[in-house]
Amino acid sequence: MGNWTTVCAVDDIPPNSGRCALVGTHQVAVFRVRRTNKDEFYALDNHDPFSGANVLSRGIVGTVDDKLVVASPVYKQHFCLQTGACLEEDIDLTTWAVRVTGHAVQLAP
C-alpha cells in the first residue's frame, strides 16, 4: 500500500455524505462520517451492482444494527462501509484505503 492518490480536500465532502472520486479509471465512492465530533473516512466502489449505475456515493449513510452502511439510492440495498459487504444479498464491493494528510483526502487500492 504505497500508492496514495490525493482526491480532494476534507471540506469537499459534506459531513455524513459521500462524493465520487476518479482514481485512474476507477470510480470510488468516498464517505465522510462524523461521529462524536470526529471525522472518519471510508471508500468503496461507486458502482451499484443491483442497478448497474455509478451512484453509491449519492446514498444515505447511517447505521443498521450498529454496522456503518450506505444505502443504494436506486434500490436501497445497504453496503457496509467497513467491509463492502451487502447486508441483503451475497455480494461484496471492493473497499479502498483512505487517509487524511493535512486537509487532503487520499485513497489507495
Binding site: S17, R19, L22, H47, R58, I60, G62, V74
Partner: protein
C-alpha cells in the same frame, strides 16, 4: 428406520418438498432423485413472472450443490422409462438402472392437448415448464396475435403472459364461462367482462375443430359453430392430465380417467411405492394445486419415518390476481351440497361479484366466490376452514359498508386455524414459535416458513403476529426505525414543541446511533414541514434521499429527470419554446407527464445546475417532482372556454398550486380542479380535489390513483374561494402533522380512528381547537416559500456538489444512450436482467 434406499421419480415442486422433508426426518437413508427436466426443482407457481422480467434462475427452489450437501444423489435430464416392481428397480431412457427399497412417484401432470386436426403444428404450444416458456417467447417474437385455448386458471395466466409479450390476445373457452371449476356463473360473467375491458378478447362456447393455414395470420382456427379466428400462435391450456404412464405400464392401479390411486398414506397398490402430487388420485380426485401436493409429501414422509400422519384431502380454495383482476374461490363455490343457500352481492358498475354459500341453517359457510374484490377472502376462508359460526346475518360479510360487519380479527381464530396453507402453518404453530422466543414477523417467518410460499397469506400472518404481540403485552413496534423509539407523529410533535431545527439536535435529544436511510429522510421532511429551511443547507444535505439531494428524479442509469412547475397545466407558447430549446440543446428525452406538465429525462447530475439556470431565466420554478410534497394541481379548461363550465377552474387550480407548492409532506400530494360536474380534471382521484357547482366549490378529500385507487370523499360543499382555501389549509396541515411516513392521504384516512366523520369534526367544526394553529402553520410555509433550484444555482459551493467527480470535470462514462423514435433512451447492456421486485421509494 429400516428403509435404506429411497428413489424419487420427478423433481417438481412436490418431489422436491418430499426430499427436503425426508432428509430433515431421516439423516441417514439413501436418497436418489431422478428428473426428466434438465434443471433441479423450480417454482412452477410463479412461472409467469418470467414474462414480467424475472430471470428464470430466480425461480430455483434448490441447486445440485444444495442436494449434494444434503447427501442426495440427483440424476436430471433423463426420464425414468420403466419401472419393475418385482425387482424393485427403475430404468431411465438413458439406460441407467436404480434399485430402491421405497419408490416415490412425483411425476406431476402434463398439459392436455385436445385431439384437433392441425393441433400438432409448431405454432401450437403448451405452458408448464421453463422450456415451454422459452418456446412461447420465441414464437411470440414473430407474432401479432395469440390465442389461448382454455379459460381456466392457467389459461388466463397464460393470456396475461401473451398480453405482456405485446400480442393481441384472445381466450377461447369451450364452456359458457371462464374458470368454471372455481367460479359460479355470475362470477364467471363478471370476470369475463373485466378481462375484456382489459383488452383480452374472450370467446366462450367455442369448440375448436380444425386448425389450418390462415390468410392474414399464420393460422386459422375453425369452430363447431362455423365461425373462425385468425392467429399466429396458439397455447393449449385445456386442463392437465396426470403423468401416470410408469404406473400403468407396471400394473399399478390407476383411475378410470387417469391418476395413480393412493390411500391415506399416499401408498399405491404396491406397498413399497408411493405417489404424491399431481400424478396421484385420492378419493377419486386429482389435486391440481401445490399445497395439497405438499401435504401428500408430508404424509408419505411421516409414513417412512414411522410416525404416520394421514392425508385426508386438502382445501382447494384459491385467491389470485388474474390479469389484474382479483378472484377468490372457497370450498363449495357452486353450492352443490344438499340444502345449501346462497347470498349474492353484485355491483355491475364497480364490476364486483360476491357469493356466499351457506348451510341450510345459515350457521356454517360452505363456499364463496369473489370477483373484483378479494378483501373479504382471508376472513371468509377462516370461517370456512374452521367452521366458525356465521353471524346472524351472513350477508353482512360481503355487503360493503354494512354497519357492524364482523371483521374476523386474528383474535377470533382458533389455534387450529390454518394461517399459511402453502406451508401448513396454524395459528397454534405461530403462537408456539412465540413461546420459543421468536418475537417478530421476520423471525416467525424464518422459523415457521409461513408466508414464504405463494405469499397470499402475508396480510393475515401480520395480523396474527400483531395480535400475539399485543396479547403478550409486547408492544407492536411502531417505532420509525432502530434510531428513534417514536412514531412519525411523535417525532413531529417533538420537533415542533421542542423547537428543534436539525437532525443532529433531534438525535442527540431523542435518538441513538447515527441514523439511517429511513429516519433521515423522514426527519428531513418533518423539519421542512415545520420550518421550511432550504433543503440542501449543510445540516440537511446528507439527510435527503437522492432525489431531494439532486432536486431531480434519479433514473435507472443514474441520470436525472427535470420537471419544471407548470401550475395547473397552463403554459405560454414562449415557455413551451424554452423547454423545447433546452431539451434540444442538452439532448434530453421529452415527454408530457400524466400531471399536465413536461418531463425532460437523461440529464447528468453535473448538467442540472446549468439547465436550471436557463429555465429559471425563462421564469420557471422547480416542480418538486422529486419531493414528497405538492406535485401538481391539474385543471380542466373551465368556465373561461368550456361551454359547460360554471367556475374558473384554471384560475383556482393556479391559485392552489402556487399556495401549496413546496409544502413537504409525509408523501406526495396531488390535486385537481374541475369546472363542472363532468369532472374532466379527475379531481375525485386526488388527495384533495375541487369541483365547481352552481352554488360554489365542492371539496373532496383523500382520493388516490396509483396502486390502490380510492375515490375521494365529499368533504365540504358550496364553498366560496376563501372558505375553500381555509379548509384546505387546515386539512393539509393536519395530515402533515399526523400521518405516518410514506402514507398517502387515502391510507391515512382509512387508518384514522373515527374516519371521515372525525376528520370533519376536527377540520370543519374545530373540535380539537387547533384550527387557528393549523392555519398559522400553513401561512408560515406559504410565506417562506423559495424555489430551491433558484437558491441552489446562486450558490457556487452547492453547484459544485453536482459534479459527478470530486476531482475531475468528466462525466460518468457509463451513462450511454441509444435512440428510439427520434429521441434518446438509456442504453441497456444486452446481459442486464431487469430488476423486478424493488420499487424506488423516492419520487
Amino acid at each position: 428406520m429400516s428403509t435404506k434406499q429411497v428413489v424419487v421419480v420427478g423433481n417438481g415442486m412436490v418431489g422436491h418438498h418430499f426430499v427436503e422433508q425426508l432428509r430433515a426426518a431421516d439423516k441417514d437413508c439413501g436418497i436418489t432423485v431422478i428428473g426428466a427436466e434438465p434443471r433441479p426443482a423450480y417454482d412452477r407457481v410463479h412461472l409467469s413472472e418470467v414474462f414480467a422480467g424475472k430471470p428464470p434462475e430466480a425461480l430455483a427452489l434448490t441447486s445440485r450443490e444444495h442436494y449434494m450437501e444434503l447427501g442426495i444423489d440427483c440424476h436430471l435430464g433423463d426420464p425414468v422409462a420403466a419401472l419393475d416392481p418385482a425387482q424393485h428397480t427403475v430404468t431411465t431412457a438413458g439406460g441407467h438402472t436404480f434399485s430402491y427399497d421405497k419408490l416415490v412417484l412425483a411425476t406431476g401432470s402434463y398439459p392436455f392437448v385436445p385431439p384437433i386436426e392441425g393441433g400438432d403444428r409448431h405454432e401450437c404450444l403448451t405452458y408448464r415448464t421453463i422450456d415451454d416458456l422459452g418456446a412461447i417467447k420465441a414464437e411470440a417474437a414473430s407474432s401479432r396475435i395469440g390465442v389461448v385455448v382454455g379459460g381456466g386458471l392457467l389459461g388466463l395466466e397464460c393470456a396475461n403472459a401473451l398480453k405482456n409479450l405485446g400480442l393481441e390476445t384472445h381466450v377461447v373457452e369451450f364452456a359458457p364461462g371462464l374458470m368454471g371449476v372455481q367460479l359460479d356463473e355470475g362470477g364467471s360473467q363478471v370476470l369475463g367482462r373485466q378481462i375484456e375491458s382489459l383488452g383480452v378478447q374472450v370467446h366462450t362456447r367455442k369448440a375448436t375443430q380444425q386448425i389450418t393455414d390462415g390468410q392474414d395470420c399464420r393460422l386459422s382456427m375453425r369452430f363447431a359453430d362455423e365461425t373462425a379466428l385468425e392467429t399466429d400462435l396458439i397455447v393449449f391450456s385445456a386442463g392437465i392430465r396426470p403423468q401416470d404412464q410408469l404406473a400403468r405400464d407396471s400394473g399399478l392401479e390407476v383411475g378410470e380417467r387417469g391418476g395413480i390411486v393412493i390411500d391415506y398414506h399416499c401408498r399405491t397398490s404396491d406397498s413399497d411405492i408411493y405417489a404424491i402430487g399431481e400424478c396421484a388420485l385420492f378419493g377419486g380426485r386429482i389435486f391440481g394445486l401445490v399445497a395439497p401436493g405438499y401435504r401428500m409429501a408430508e404424509a408419505a414422509v411421516s409414513q417412512l419415518a414411522g410416525a404416520p400422519v394421514a392425508f385426508t384431502g386438502a382445501d382447494m380454495s384459491t385467491k389470485l390476481k388474474l390479469l389484474g383482476v382479483d378472484v377468490g374461490s372457497i370450498g363449495d363455490a357452486h353450492g352443490n351440497a344438499d340444502g345449501a343457500m346462497a347470498y349474492v352481492y353484485s355491483d355491475p358498475r364497480a364490476q364486483v361479484y360476491k357469493r356466499l354459500v351457506v348451510s341450510e341453517d345459515s350457521k356454517t359457510l360452505l363456499g364463496a366466490v369473489l370477483v373484483g374484490d378479494c378483501e373479504d377472502y382471508d376472513a371468509l376462508l377462516q370461517y370456512y376452514l374452521n367452521a366458525i359460526e356465521l353471524p346472524a346475518q351472513p350477508e353482512a360479510l360481503i355487503v360493503p359498508g354494512t354497519a357492524g360487519t364482523p371483521a374476523l380479527g386474528a383474535a377470533a381464530l382458533p389455534a387450529s386455524a390454518t394461517i399459511c396453507s402453502c406451508h401448513n402453518v396454524s395459528k397454534g404453530a405461530i403462537s408456539a414459535a412465540f413461546d420459543n422466543g421468536f418475537g417478530n414477523l421476520a423471525a416467525i417467518k424464518a422459523e415457521t416458513k409461513a408466508s414464504t410460499g405463494c405469499g397470499g397469506c402475508a396480510a393475515l400472518l401480520k395480523s396474527v403476529v400483531d395480535e400475539q404481540l399485543s396479547c403478550r403485552g409486547m408492544a407492536v413496534n411502531t417505532d420509525i426505525c432502530e434510531h428513534f423509539p417514536y412514531t412519525r407523529h411523535e417525532l413531529f410533535h417533538l420537533v415542533r414543541v421542542g423547537d428543534i431545527h436539525s437532525f443532529d439536535a433531534l438525535l442527540a435529544a431523542h435518538g441513538s446511533g447515527l441514523g439511517c436511510d429511513i429516519c433521515k429522510p423522514a426527519v428531513a421532511s418533518i423539519l421542512a414541514s415545520c420550518w421550511n429551511d432550504y433543503v440542501l443547507q449543510d445540516a440537511h444535505h446528507g439527510l435527503q434521499d437522492t432525489n431531494d439531494r439532486y432536486l431531480a428524479n434519479m433514473q435507472k442509469n443514474g441520470t436525472y429527470s427535470i420537471v419544471p412547475r407548470v401550475a395547473a397545466g397552463e403554459i405560454t407558447p414562449d415557455k413551451l419554446i424554452v423547454l423545447g430549446e433546452v431539451a434540444r440543446d442538452y439532448n434530453l428525452y421529452t415527454k408530457i407527464t400524466g400531471g399536465q406538465r413536461i418531463d425532460l429525462f437523461g440529464a447528468r447530475s453535473e448538467q442540472l445546475p446549468a439547465i436550471w439556470e436557463r429555465l429559471i431565466a425563462a421564469g420557471f420554478e422547480t416542480g418538486h417532482a422529486y419531493a414528497k410534497a405538492l406535485r401538481t394541481v391539474k385543471s380542466c379548461v373551465g368556465s373561461t372556454w368550456c361551454r359547460y363550465g360554471v367556475l374558473d377552474s384554471v384560475g383556482m387550480a393556479i391559485r392552489i398550486e402556487n399556495r401549496y407548492k413546496g409544502l413537504r409532506a409525509p408523501h406526495k400530494l396531488k390535486s385537481a380542479v374541475s369546472g363542472c360536474t363532468r369532472e374532466c380534471a379527475e379531481a375525485q382521484s386526488k388527495d384533495f380535489g375541487v369541483i365547481a357547482t352552481e352554488s360554489g366549490w365542492n371539496l373532496y378529500v383523500c382520493g388516490n390513483g396509483g396502486m390502490k385507487p380510492r375515490h375521494a370523499d365529499l368533504f365540504a360543499t358550496d364553498l366560496n374561494d376563501e372558505q375553500l382555501v381555509q379548509i384546505i389549509d387546515r386539512f393539509l396541515m393536519f395530515y402533515v402533522r399526523t400521518a405516518d411516513r410514506l402514507q398517502r392521504t387515502s391510507v391515512w384516512l382509512e387508518n384514522l380512528e373515527g374516519g371521515l366523520e372525525y376528520l370533519k369534526q376536527v377540520i370543519i367544526e374545530d373540535s380539537l381547537g387547533i384550527c387557528a394553529q393549523l392555519e398559522e402553520d400553513m401561512q408560515r410555509i406559504v410565506d417562506t416559500y423559495q424555489c430551491e433550484w433558484k437558491t441552489t444555482v446562486q450558490n457556487p459551493r452547492k453547484v459544485r456538489q453536482f459534479a459527478h467527480f470530486v476531482n475531475s470535470d468528466q462525466g460518468d462514462n457509463a451513462v450511454q444512450f441509444e435512440r428510439e423514435r427520434g429521441q434518446v433512451k438509456p442504453l441497456v447492456p444486452a446481459a442486464e436482467a431487469p430488476h423486478s421486485e424493488n420499487i424506488l421509494v423516492t419520487g
